[in-house]
Symmetry: C2
Subunit: 430 residues, 2 copies
């Protein structure tokens, strides 16, 4: 059977077409029924005039209930006021699969109720739009790195050692040994950068954190590039370019979804280079002036992040943090050795940290010293130290949380709606 997806219905304008999908909504005047059909690629209004169709077609249209699957054939015409710009005069309506008592109705439901029905909730127009934007963002990210000739290196999920302690790791039995679900691919990417030059990984990562905030998922996707011979300034540029390119693509290709989400696209259009920059030292001063009791050596929390990025229309790059509050592998700033060449990128509108990265220590002795200072298990790092033993090289990389970027692009409040099947402290179903 020759069917058309709704996204391509315009190609059939003036002629006949058949679409298959589900009943999203309906209106009826007694003489005319208006069926809104969705097929995952778009929405189409099918008009069924009682006077012009056989009795069984009218009756099928009347019988069609929310989310039943159906096949509709008719004439396609342009109709500026219709969603998508086209409308169908139906000549035939056939119900394929009934739907009785569909649990999600136009009335308000609680989030827990909807999350228990996540497998159905994703049919709803807003959830559908968010996940379409997510899909576009993922391809845009892969295209970005592919065009820049990065090699994709999938880092492993199952890892044999808990290099920074087990407190936030999921553990599993691995044929009699202990294994842990990865929190980052970085340690695996640094050796790969020596083999391929520019590499990235992009896969699920896990954090067994007992946080219940809207910013935390236990399973989330992370993008991590790692580049040989790249210094800190180049890393900041790479991060900027990624954000600007991907946001540009969302604006270019997701207009309908953004509209459905009532996203203020002006806010996204403002995301252009260069991003404003501030050092940690400057940030501490600024925060103190704003009345925060923050001093050198303190971590910046969510409130501080929001205050720093509040008046900005694009992400803020905070750099050069105290070594003591950052990971052991970050390269000290040669001009200010108390701080490291690390960056956090804070999204505007309160979306918080979307990128964290640094230049990496490439001197073997210094890295060994840091491992000792941080009281980390030296044995677990032996293979990682090999990168510094055999042809060491300056290199830099960062990590970007996918769901945070998606939530920001879509203007949604909670990360749990930015992933198809969210996993949180209280949720592993469906």
């Amino acid at each position: 059977m020759d069917t058309t997806t709704i996204s391509h219905i315009g190609e059939k304008a003036g002629g006949s077409a058949t679409v298959q999908g589900w009943l999203y909504n309906r209106r009826s005047s007694g003489k005319i029924q208006f069926l809104i059909v969705r097929d995952g690629t778009g929405y189409l209004q099918a008009v069924v005039p009682r006077a012009d169709v056989p009795a069984e077609v009218w009756e099928a249209a009347e019988r069609a209930s929310q989310e039943c699957s159906l096949r509709v054939t008719g004439t396609v015409r342009e109709e500026k006021r219709a969603p998508g710009g086209y409308e169908m005069s139906a000549q035939s309506v056939e119900i394929l699969g009934p739907s009785e008592g569909y649990p999600i109705t136009p009335k308000e439901h609680g989030v827990d109720f909807l999350m228990n029905l996540r497998h159905l909730w994703m049919r709803s127009s807003q959830q559908h739009a968010v996940l379409r934007v997510r899909s576009e963002i993922e391809q845009a990210i892969r295209d970005f790195f592919y065009r820049r000739e990065f090699t994709l290196i999938d880092s492993p999920i199952l890892t044999g050692s808990a290099v920074e302690g087990t407190s936030t790791l999921f553990e599993t039995d691995y044929f009699g040994d202990k294994a842990y679900l990865s929190q980052s691919g970085q340690l695996y990417l640094e050796p790969a950068a020596a083999a391929f030059g520019k590499v990235y990984c992009f896969g699920p990562t896990f954090r067994a954190e007992k946080s219940k905030t809207r910013r935390h998922l236990t399973e989330f996707w992370m993008i991590e590039p790692e580049v040989a011979f790249l210094r800190f300034e180049g890393l900041v540029e790479l991060a900027e370019d990624l954000i600007v390119t991907v946001m540009g693509r969302v604006l270019e290709r997701c207009q309908e979804d953004l509209k459905r989400l009532e996203r203020d696209t002006k806010k996204l259009e403002a995301i252009q280079k260069p991003f404003p920059r501030i050092t940690y030292r400057e940030a501490v001063q600024k925060l103190a002036a704003l009345g925060f009791s923050v001093k050198f050596g303190d971590d910046l929390g969510a409130d501080e992040e929001t205050a720093l990025a509040k008046d900005l229309d694009r992400p803020l790059v905070v750099s050069r943090f105290p070594a003591a509050i950052k990971s052991f592998y970050m390269q000290p700033d040669p001009e200010d050795p108390e701080v490291v060449l690390g960056l956090d990128m804070l999204a505007p509108e309160g979306y918080g940290e979307i990128i964290g990265g640094s230049e990496r220590i490439y001197d073997l002795a210094l890295l060994e010293k840091r491992i000792e200072e941080h009281e980390l298990p030296r044995d677990a790092y032996e293979w990682y130290l090999d990168v510094r033993r055999f042809g060491t090289f300056p290199h830099s990389g960062f990590g970007m949380g996918l769901e945070r970027f998606v939530a920001w692009a879509c203007g949604i409040h909670h990360l749990r709606e930015a992933i198809p099947y969210p996993r949180t402290l209280k949720r592993i179903y469906p």
Copy 2:
């Protein structure tokens, strides 16, 4: 500093360039040193003539040891006999990071030794080539589905129920409950097909199998499309198109890597549509004629698969298996209800099953009956059954193992070399 990657060195022909990389190999005549430099994007021969360079440059070139990192500046010229087609007359050689006692030498090493050094072994030209082909294949697969307007739906890794028994599942504690690492995204994709029409997932999957064969990894990547309203014939075509398109892209863009792997590319050029097809019933007859003791209802093992595909130059599609030996969700063949509309695609050259898929049962009552017959826990499937309760629809999907495809494309024997950091029964390091 203005540096050039070796993949772009041709753009500098006739002029000067600086490359940064690692010493891959060297030859010396006493008067001239030939340094083969690799930077992950290619190999470049740098020629250092004693008579024409300052003493410290000659001395640095002499000091350069295997896998030290270095920076070389010189004049680029075309040289047909050189790898990559270009050569550099070095004016400056600078060692950035020394390398003493690099453990992988040109002599033969055992696989276990090399796998313990996987983080270094990936610098070796053959391993490097395989992982570059893998990276290209992954992007080609994503492009294939993107161009066909599939929505990427990341299925979850952590799942709350062991739907087909726990014997091959990795288990973890999830804040007091049990959770399992996913073996397939299919159950999560079927509901998504009702929301988006055409969907796919592509991520890591896990099997805690005690198999030690060259065909098994405990962690591997799988591609799973699922398409609403697609029937069995369309599914076979989708699988064919994917294989042909991706193999064509490998041939188009990975010639150098295939050459380094000494892959017979004629074998890959032969992968064209249509693929030969055989039903399970026909396969049993054919195998019996070849002397195998196989009867209707038996599973086809690796030996049987190899025998069926042996004389073919492209994959073989085996279809319509007995319902009893296949998964509970496969749609019966209306013309032969003892068998199901399932397919296995067997690669030539003994690479075995690369794709397995089926049309799915969409009738609620039949699916409930099957769950009972297979003695599966009905409760765990309630949400999955919703797909049949609310607007059920015919749909089909398949799974393709990435590492099997990579091994086949590269002509390598063992799956463990087709993934950056392999995980097998005996290996979770590095």
